[in-house]
């Protein structure tokens, strides 16, 4: 097992990081937080670089890369607390389009003309096993009805990949609905760059990306796994950046005549922070690789990645803020963008608790019903 990035992957990451450092500095994030700016210019630049089509096949105008590369992108989007619909489009819509071999829509994505997010959660919970949203077959199309919550970038995407069950058979499927056919209500949030929204579907016309029926359950699972791992990865990206800025602060800030980073109690805690970040990174990479290679350990690895990311954010958000002292508590310091991004990452695509109970079922420790 080789869990280190290839040279191509390292180059890609370096490129992504350089672009985001230039185009999405904390000042740009601050503008979104304070309502004085938006992600339009950033989106344009990313489109120009072909990032929306990162995993879209070359034949459809994309870069033709795999899920590991999507995960790398997610990591750096988290690191930069980047606003805009790229994370949703690359890790939520595109996997569904790929599964459907939806050539036309993928072309639109690659060209930056279509963005999208999964609409999975209902009543505030990511519970993909039991969606209440229903898909009714109709002439030439499907009709989707139901209420979804907490769609990522839901306030700004142009389409949704909606998880719904067949009105008659109860089999799950994924359905493409144009945002103009749904009603998205942005949610007031302390993390405005994610543009979370609740979305109402009232008989919205839809195209099936994963048609409900034999094997649809597994196909849906595969799409959702990518969303989960990417969300874990972006959380860890934010956390690694928390570690970096905390280290910088600890090295520079003096107290009692010496840098606080020379106090042994802080050193040991910073060592534990590194451990938590490395641990979560390694599990996320492993999960992304299992997905990319369609390995049978995929599901367990997916849950594990979100659990490890959860442990990571819990520790990094706490100690990152604590070790910054008062300065990290001020709005004018950039730390809080990272804290809020890391926390939001825990809450989206299923909490640690949810994935722990799912993993228990996979490990045979609890019935699916019990979990």
């Amino acid at each position: 097992m080789d869990l280190e990035l290839s040279n191509d992957q390292l180059d890609l990451r370096e490129n992504i990081r350089a672009v985001l450092e230039g185009a999405c500095p904390p000042a740009a994030v601050r503008a979104v937080y304070e309502g004085t700016g938006n992600a339009a210019a950033l989106w344009e630049q990313m489109t120009h670089l072909g990032w929306p089509g990162l995993s879209v096949p070359e034949g459809a105008g994309g870069l033709g890369l795999g899920f590991v590369e999507v995960a790398l992108l997610a990591e750096d989007l988290g690191r930069a607390t980047a606003p805009g619909p790229l994370l949703a489009t690359a890790s939520q819509l595109t996997p569904a389009l790929l599964k459907a071999k939806a050539h036309g829509e993928m072309e639109e994505v690659a060209a930056g003309r279509r963005t999208g997010a999964l609409a999975v959660s209902e009543r505030g919970r990511w519970r993909p096993e039991k969606p209440q949203t229903v898909a009714q077959p109709a002439a030439n199309a499907w009709r989707i009805s139901g209420s979804k919550t907490d769609a990522l970038s839901g306030g700004e995407v142009s389409s949704f990949a909606v998880l719904a069950t067949h009105g008659r058979t109860g089999a799950p499927g994924l359905f493409l609905v144009e945002a103009s056919d749904a009603e998205a209500r942005p949610r007031p949030s302390i993390e405005p760059t994610l543009a979370l929204a609740d979305v109402e579907f009232d008989g919205a016309p839809a195209k099936a990306l994963v048609e409900p029926g034999d094997g649809s359950s597994e196909a849906v699972e595969r799409v959702l796994q990518q969303a989960v791992v990417a969300m874990a990865m972006q959380t860890v990206g934010a956390c690694r950046r928390i570690l970096e800025v905390t280290l910088e602060y600890a090295k520079g800030r003096e107290q009692y005549g010496r840098p606080i980073g020379s106090f042994q109690a802080l050193k040991h805690r910073l060592a534990d922070l590194l451990l938590a970040v490395e641990r979560a990174t390694a599990v996320c990479y492993y999960a992304s690789l299992c997905i990319a290679e369609d390995n049978e350990g995929r599901a367990a690895a997916t849950h594990s990645s979100k659990i490890a990311a959860g442990d990571c954010q819990r520790l990094l958000a706490r100690d990152g803020l604590q070790l910054h002292g008062g300065i990290g508590f001020t709005w004018e310091n950039d730390l809080h963008f990272l804290l809020k991004r890391a926390k939001a990452g825990e809450l989206l695509c299923g909490s640690s608790r949810f994935h722990r109970s799912e993993l228990a079922a996979i490990l045979g420790l609890a019935d699916r019903g019990e979990s």
Partner: protein
Amino acid sequence: MKLRYDDDVERFRGQFQEWLDENQPTPEEMESAPVRSSAHRPPWARRWAKRMFDDGWLVPGWPPELGGRNADPVETLVYLEELDNRGIPRTTNPQGLGIVAPSLIDHGSEDQIECYAMPLLRGDLTACLGMSEPDAGSDLASLKTRAVFDGDSIVLNGQKVWTSGAHDADFCFMFCRTDPDVPKHQGISIVLVPMDAGGVTVRPLMEIVHPRFPDLNEVFLDDVTVSAENLVGALNNGWRMANDSLAHERSLVWLMSVFGNEVALKRLLELAPELLGDLGPLERAGAIDDFVGLHVDVLAARCMGYRGFARYVRGGTAPEQALMKVYTSEVRQRLALVAAELAGPAGLRPVSGRDTEVGTQEDFFSTFAGTISAGSSEIQRNIIADRVLGLPRS
């Protein structure tokens, strides 16, 4: 050991309860003008302070002329319990009542007591505390703000930070350096600085929670000139007075944290049906187990506090304030974390006022005020190691 107090203490409690029934501020009053900072005193709070002072319920342990009734510590404890039980704030300017006023009464001139301390007590003024500085942080001995005597005046220059309520306070109990040539902890004095004095600039610091309700400030002093009579106590005696002033009511500050945690736990358990509602069995069990742990945490804080207080009352060692501070603030943080994670994405909503709500991420972030300010948890652990455990200095 006993669970209940002696009869005379319970009679004292009854007396206070009766008085409260008649005099406590109404919910309508309190909601009419929410408190926006720790030195903000809306009209109702002013009336409330004056009423308590006049009837001897402001600082029960003091004599009547200072707003008290010569109560003993156990009676004072019972008094605070009653306020907490009813969720009534004793003051909206805790540093003024808890630190500045007592320090002035101990060390101030007659004029200072009359013009600053008594108005603080009667609700006519509020005060802030000028201790932290940008490069000193928790290290008071490193402070740099200069105060230079110039005939009958004192001229101050420097910068303070993390000054709670400075933008709403009437004056500041300002720590400054009056002799730069002696070892660091010597040469510090305290000067009373009216916040409207020329050269005082206050810049509120927006916080990462409820950014619209700042409490912390930067305070810039640019050739601020005050009368030499504003010097508190002896010149260069500020370090000792600081230790005294922080010790005021130290024997009972834990109580507020204990009650705060109990209120938060109560709220969490009220929310439980909603938070647990649609969880699967394993998730639900995990959350319940967390609740149980928090219950023990909160109960333990109460037991530790009351045990330390009982020792103190018997004249034994002072209660281990550092232990209580680090413990209660970290319990509150754990509680906020459990609640906020259970709330899911709904917990990302911004809260509307200064008070955060259990079950939001803002509540979680707000708990860091407890683990960072007034001596961070790290500093408290140093204190425990050095002073309680007697470990050798690093």
